[in-house]
């Protein structure tokens, strides 16, 4: 044992009396640390806004804004949690463990709402269920009255729309958890004398709890980050308040202080999510192959089919149908050169951001691979933390340091610049791309890293014994084997960037209006029809990754070859 201390390590032998400082990072760790700055600097700037609190603004905020924001946010968190659980868990349970008419269709089609951004869901549902909408009009024509319908433009409406848009997160995780352990749990429960209903409540549901809570926390992060849907409903949330503070009151410090509160909320959620995910990892090792399903018969089969159909109808078929009807009505007028510009801007931004994110994701994943230490893992986790940070927060958090840097440079360079220069980096594409990178690095990283995990250590080590190392190793072994993962990452980021509203809205350079911006402008004037064509385009592109996900999960669900 003590021969360890007798034989000097290379470093101490070279520098007698010196110990390497404990924060010394390997070059892979430096890489990850550098990349994490894109997320950490905006977060630090936002949190630092508490260091110089403007008393006047704060007094205004705490008197007029904060009480309503906090009440609304609490309502949103509780309501969306309940909503996504009530939709996602029963659907996941039905589809995973039972056999009923249409089960195969529902098992993937119930994911389709993922293709529809919450803000698109919001204005189509209003269009459908408002007093002048299709549904109420039909009710009046048929039954003479529609007064009993609760108004859609209400808090309940917000919660309904959010739940319909976000339940797939819970559905997906519930379905997979139940598919792998539900049937066996039920059998174990039955052998101990419980009926299936008791078995669900006392065994299957508690066993799946880590997955369900994981799904709920994902949905809640989306709900907290949502800007478009709440602004369509004029429902005051932190994101809309940040936007108003900056673009309405022109108070960057009010915006950043509101953002800091939102960040604190998000941190609590992340903490919960990590806590739960740790337990899920423990469970995941014991997941078995999917088991055969229990057939439902008679009324219960049709009830199951009816419930799933109703959710699918409300969450995807009706809203998408409404969009198509509107789009058909306006496309001749709206499909003009400006529209082509929106599409082009969306695609160009998404393509640039996608390429950037994929490169960063590859670098992070490779760094973690080459230097598999807890510290590298931590740095990579920090670099991908932005998935949880709402776009409004990132926009504010990046703008402040960029503006500071601009002022510094302007003061320094002064005369060297052409007269009238007021900005260097401010309002450029670079800032926007950095914000996208911070927000979507995790999306890219997770699919690249999943593919990286499939490269075995022996494949890598074989290449090393054959004389390859460093970047050549990456190029000759990893990149070709990661092709699928890189493509998935690119596609996911592409679609997410196209849907992203607040970052685009708040950081776009002049003239860079995208489909999402167009939707925001039309919906804020209540022109649902004119928002339909860009919305249809977004939904159709959003379908690509969802179908990919449906395909990969259905092949994972198939019995092993």
């Amino acid at each position: 044992m003590n021969s360890n201390s007798l034989s000097p390590s290379p470093a101490t032998a070279a520098l007698p009396g010196w110990r390497l400082p404990r924060f010394a990072l390997s070059r892979w760790q430096w890489l990850a640390a550098g990349l994490s700055l894109v997320t950490l600097i905006p977060l630090a700037v936002i949190l630092a806004s508490f260091l110089h609190i403007d008393g006047e603004i704060w007094a205004h905020l705490s008197e007029f804004v904060l009480p309503r924001l906090l009440a609304n946010t609490a309502l949103l968190l509780v309501g969306v949690s309940l909503g996504v659980l009530l939709l996602g868990v029963p659907l996941g349970w039905l589809v995973a463990v039972h056999e009923f008419p249409g089960r195969w269709l529902f098992s993937w089609a119930l994911m389709l709402p993922l293709a529809m951004p919450a803000y698109v869901m919001a204005f189509t549902q209003i269009g459908l269920f408002d007093f002048t909408g299709v549904v109420q009009t039909w009710l009046r024509d048929t039954w003479g009255s529609s007064a009993w319908m609760p108004p859609i433009r209400s808090r309940g409406g917000v919660l309904l729309v959010m739940s319909l848009a976000l339940y797939p997160y819970v559905f997906l995780l519930a379905r997979d958890a139940f598919a792998t352990q539900g049937r066996r749990a039920l059998e174990a429960a039955q052998s101990l004398g419980l009926n299936p209903w008791q078995g669900f409540w006392r065994v299957a549901l508690p066993m799946a709890r880590p997955w369900l809570m994981g799904g709920v926390s994902l949905a809640l992060m989306e709900a907290l980050a949502d800007f478009g849907a709440v602004s369509i409903f004029s429902f005051d949330a932190f994101t809309t308040a940040i936007y108003k503070a900056w673009f309405g009151m022109f108070s960057l410090s009010a915006a950043s202080q509101l953002a800091s509160l939102l960040v604190l909320l998000v941190f609590v959620l992340i903490w919960l999510e990590q806590h739960i995910r740790g337990r899920r990892a423990y469970h995941a090792g014991r997941l078995a192959a999917p088991q055969p399903r229990l057939p439902l018969r008679g009324a219960s089969a049709w009830l199951a089919c009816g419930f799933a159909s109703l959710v699918l109808l409300l969450a995807f078929v009706l809203p998408f149908g409404q969009l198509l009807v509107w789009a058909a009505r306006v496309w001749q007028a709206d499909l003009d050169a400006r529209y082509i510009d929106f599409v082009w801007h969306s695609l160009a931004l998404a393509g640039m951001a996608g390429a950037l994110v994929v490169c960063v994701a590859l670098a992070l994943s490779y760094a973690q691979r080459r230097d598999p230490q807890p510290r590298t893992r931590l740095l990579v986790r920090l670099a991908t933390l932005g998935y949880a940070v709402p776009g409004t927060v990132l926009a504010v958090g990046l703008f402040i340091p960029v503006a500071w840097l601009d002022n510094l440079l302007l003061a320094w360079l002064g005369e060297a610049l052409p007269s009238g220069t007021t900005a260097i980096f401010k309002g450029t594409l670079a800032v926007m791309l950095l914000a996208y990178l911070a927000r979507f690095a995790a999306v890219g990283f997770s699919s690249v890293d999943a593919a990286m995990q499939r490269i075995t250590r022996s494949q890598e080590e074989t290449a090393r014994t054959l004389g390859e190392s460093g970047w050549r190793l990456l190029r000759r072994v990893h990149v070709p084997m990661l092709r699928g993962g890189l493509f998935t990452a690119l596609l996911m980021v592409l679609v997410d960037v196209m849907k992203e509203m607040p970052i685009t809205l708040m950081t776009r350079p002049f003239g860079w209006d995208t489909l999402a911006v167009r939707i925001f402008e039309m919906t804020s004037e209540g022109e649902w029809e004119r928002a339909a064509l860009p919305a249809v385009t977004l939904v159709l592109t959003g379908l690509l990754p969802v179908l990919l996900l449906a395909h990969s999960s259905s092949s994972a669900q198939a019995p092993s070859r």
Binding site: P10, T462, A463, R464, T465, L466, G467, E468, S469, M481
Partner: protein
Amino acid sequence: MTPPLLQLDAISQRYARQTVVDQLSFSLQRGEIGCLLGGSGCGKTTVLRCIAGFETLSAGRIVLDGQLLADTRLHTPAHTRQIGMVFQDYGLFPHLTVAGNIGFGLSALARDEQARRTSDMLALVGLANLADSYPHELSGGQQQRVALARALAPRPRLLLLDEPFSNLDVALRERLGQEVRDILKAAGATAILVTHDQNEAFAMADKVGVMDQGRIMQWDTPYNLYHQPANRTVASFIGQGVLLPGVVCADACIQIELGEACSMRPHGFVAGTPVEVLLRPDDVIHDDSSPLQATVVGRAFRGAEFLYTLALPSGHTLLAQVASHHNHALGESIGIRLDTAHLVAFGVSAPDAPR
């Protein structure tokens, strides 16, 4: 004698608190095939990874062909060592064809030279007709040979094989073992094999090291390991057999319950010393005319022979390998005699020490 190609001097490998490899030494001549044999967790794969350059040493040094590869200060990176390795799961690249895999390590050569070397290797392992197949289209044995050809293609100074046959079924394992040995010998390669399978070690290697708890208990030819095990651990790991108590009566003879057992060589104990004698199943011969009787208490039919477990009057048991037409029931008494050309004895209280 020429200096060895590979020399390991008292290498040690420690993780936090655990010593995985403990002061291990051995050397290998050019063209020899060595084998590290041991149960799981004995440290044999770690030794291989130290030689390949995937692990750093806590103590000791590794010298290959006169070049210091590693000691506590120096660590030559794996990719510059020119040591080939065949992994347990083969580590084939799924995105490359068989020819692409084999040519992977040849990028320093000119293109036509690469092609020539690749086709030579394909011919050597008998896969010339599968050059354009992808790894997932091959059988396990074919994948194994691709991995071997890929490792041999850049003419490594040393080839390492980590449990190369463990993913194959038993019948294939035996055939491939011989085949791989022939390929290695034809290529003039020096190789080290790691395995837990004694048959594999004996079929392939010129020298075998039996490992336990990070140390080599004995480094010797398969013949000597079987007939002259250095200690009880090696004796019990290699082959079957039992230990019977006895007392030394002469330079080459030991008195045991079955009479006086003598061998061709002196055993080195002083007369009167209490010892334990190793009796292999093939040391015990079934002989109906022998006055020595033992009771059958267990029998395992192996086709060509029976392996009988026999109880002596004292209660000690022995194993006997008997041709299978001698079919005896449990409880029957049969005549036996000893045929101990190699007499192996251990001092009663002697601790296990590497020899």
